[in-house]
Symmetry: D2
Subunit: 252 residues, 4 copies
């Protein structure tokens, strides 16, 4: 199993396999990468239990405490030397049970053509007002947290964690003037997909299913947040610089 | 002269040449393009007088009423069939008198190397916390209104008018992992520029000056807004689709 | 059926359903869009028969003669007022029978992750020398002809028809410093794909199959060309300007 | 002084200050960065003398031998364990004396607006045939060698050293569908610039001048090459991976 969850010492409750066992713990440790953290979120859900992201390998945006910093981090956490940051999630409000029973995403909801043969058209509505029909391989609806993940790989901007916004980023759009769009996070999005095959892929973070194109997707900001533990000496800015190697330019 | 300002009929006050004559009018008409609208802003300033953007040629994002729609628009405006949208401005709080006596921008503040020979380094601080040192031809700090202007040409995202955000977009950054960054518009930015020549260009919208690199720039959201008249049948989305030709894709 | 092939009047041979019936004709007309032209190529193959691209709807890069120009074009063709341009194809030399019995592409060979859940790694070798391991949604190997198709949608450059080059363009690459790479078209490429699911999608133009990741793909320039009929008053430059609306900028 | 040129030991000729003293030496060492190498090129010119690029700090694409590798490199060079790669230059054929007396560029010729206030229009002709009018901050005409320099920062592709091509890359183009264009390197380019100020900046590598817009620029591939010494264990691919940190991805 790729990730483990333990509550804070001295009382280690051990390993859990269901979200319903979690409510008694004070804190959840996700040990792995950002992918593991996303899985941990499907356990923690709306309990409000703070999550500590430990990376077992490469530095993550979510798993931003390295293994060798763990003792120091544990000490600091015990002393209360940390902040809890609230991370916005997206909720797939309809259909609620499309992708398992956890209809939320910390990074992004994405729709994608099912095979490589032909593009899909994604009609997007904001608060029921028509925005645009994207002809593309797919479309990403991302939180600020997700702005450094998939959306970034297809040209989306980086979002400050405090920017109360959602990004709509097309994947390989056919129209060359289509660009990522940033909208306030209190808007509701509706996606209607059309394509030759009649089916498309929908995903919440890394969980995905094949969906019939008759299915409309409705998305809004979730009513709860994921609470991530941030050490006081760490900041979004330093993580950006380190993860994206902004200081490590090797061209002259 | 490229633009004219008249108040609403039946009492046309005529043409103005100074911002101090404006306060008695009910409405200002900017006739030209988006560039003319930006000039009109330097007259209207913090008076709160609504501005109507008439384009004499190509559709603008600000000048979004075409000349032939003018009669209908005037009629609607007289009947009160319009909304007033508040557009955020950036204020150059220090040095206040750097670029004329109007230290505000509706689109963007930009810094740029002065000649083509070598890049500049722009150290950026958010609320006095170090963000990053950009090594680039320049840097754009843009409002949502400006997101469809210069920032878009260098890869910035489009911002919904209601997204309370500012975009930081580097121009020709040397580091390939540096990307546009969206931050909440209640943050204060500080820019410190360094370069071989010792000088750089700074601009507020289309007004620019040469600045010595010892000069730090401080920027925040202005305390007032520009109020733009929007016809009820028009929307940001339709202007986007029309101006950026999202519907006019000619590749198959 | 979406496309038709007729030889030049007065002797119209009619409609064909197999490539083996074609060799007797002087010229093939593809009527449809660029997609239809790509299908026509699978009939024409290495016969050297010139192809005329008629577009029944929107202007294409390949189907660049509009329906209403057809009479004039026919007249010109009868008078010999045209040039035959040779278009390079890519050959999938191994495995030859991966995607039907026509192992060639006029636009591009692409590999793509099979579902939306996780990226694939594509190890690329040029003349058996290691180039790079791309961690991405997929990778496009494109001809100059294909440079205005899929490759362009993911950020690839436009290639002049006479540039004897191949473009390697990653799709949604995770590493932000990875960029499209242009190589001479006399190099042989080898692609080895790795991913969690063990399978990936491979496509030649619009024909695609699911492939096991144990399958290495070898690609080189084909020994024959597709000969496209170009009217003398038409040029790649004017098609570029028209198709990509370079002259139709609507931002001010 | 930032760079030095010495011929191969045992006979070190010392430091030179004029290109006319160079022809007696066997090899030129450029010690510094890629910028130093570009300066060395203005000394070496069409003498055909091989240049060794030693980087005194960060790895360069041209200065790709690090200081601590110098002894090994010298030994290998003495033993003849190296290859000489021929690098294409661009020649400004008219006006020849625009930028000093060396009308050649190893990386790129660029035109740029002179100040930050308004864009310029660059009309481009290929072999006297009209290509396009770019409305932009500027335009870069780059060799394959220059493809990893300025052109890359504004979205140009990377070119294989053996691709006999030239790249035309606009800087901050206003039209969103304009993309980098790769053309065969045997084409002649003509640039005509228009702008509000009547002047523009033109540069050959890092040397630049202000030019009146009545001046047309004509560019073609130079008749000679710069010969760079490449150690046998080094390749363009490994330099790409190292310089651009393709292997050093830190996002998960």
């Amino acid at each position: 199993f790729l990730f483990e969850k333990v509550n804070l010492k001295p009382e280690v409750k051990g390993f859990f396999s269901s979200p319903y066992e979690l409510p008694m713990v004070d804190m959840v440790f996700s040990i792995g990468g950002d992918g593991t953290f996303l899985q941990a979120v499907t356990f923690v859900r709306d309990t409000g239990i703070p999550v500590v992201g430990i990376n077992s390998g490469r530095l993550g945006f979510l798993a931003d405490i390295s293994r060798h910093e763990l003792p120091a981090a544990l000490y600091e956490i015990e002393k209360g030397l940390f902040e809890v940051k609230k991370l916005t999630l997206l909720e797939l409000t309809s259909p609620k049970k499309l992708i398992g029973d956890f209809n939320f995403a910390l990074n992004e909801l994405a729709v994608h053509k099912q095979d490589s043969s032909s593009m899909i058209t994604i009609h997007v509505y904001l608060n029921d007002q028509f925005l645009n029909s994207y002809w593309a391989d797919g479309l990403i609806v991302s939180t600020p947290t997700g702005s450094t993940a998939y959306s970034l790989s297809v040209g989306g901007p980086i979002m400050h964690p405090a920017s109360q916004s959602i990004i709509i980023t097309p994947i390989a759009p056919h129209n060359l003037t289509v660009r990522p769009l940033v909208i306030p996070d209190d808007m509701e999005l509706t996606l209607k997909v059309e394509g030759r095959g009649g089916k498309f892929l929908a995903s919440l973070d890394s969980r995905s299913v094949v969906v019939d194109q008759s299915t409309e997707l409705k998305i809004k900001k979730a009513d709860f947040t994921i609470n991530i533990v941030e050490r006081t000496n760490q900041s979004f800015y330093s993580t950006l610089r380190n993860k994206l190697m902004w200081g490590a330019d090797k061209r002259n």
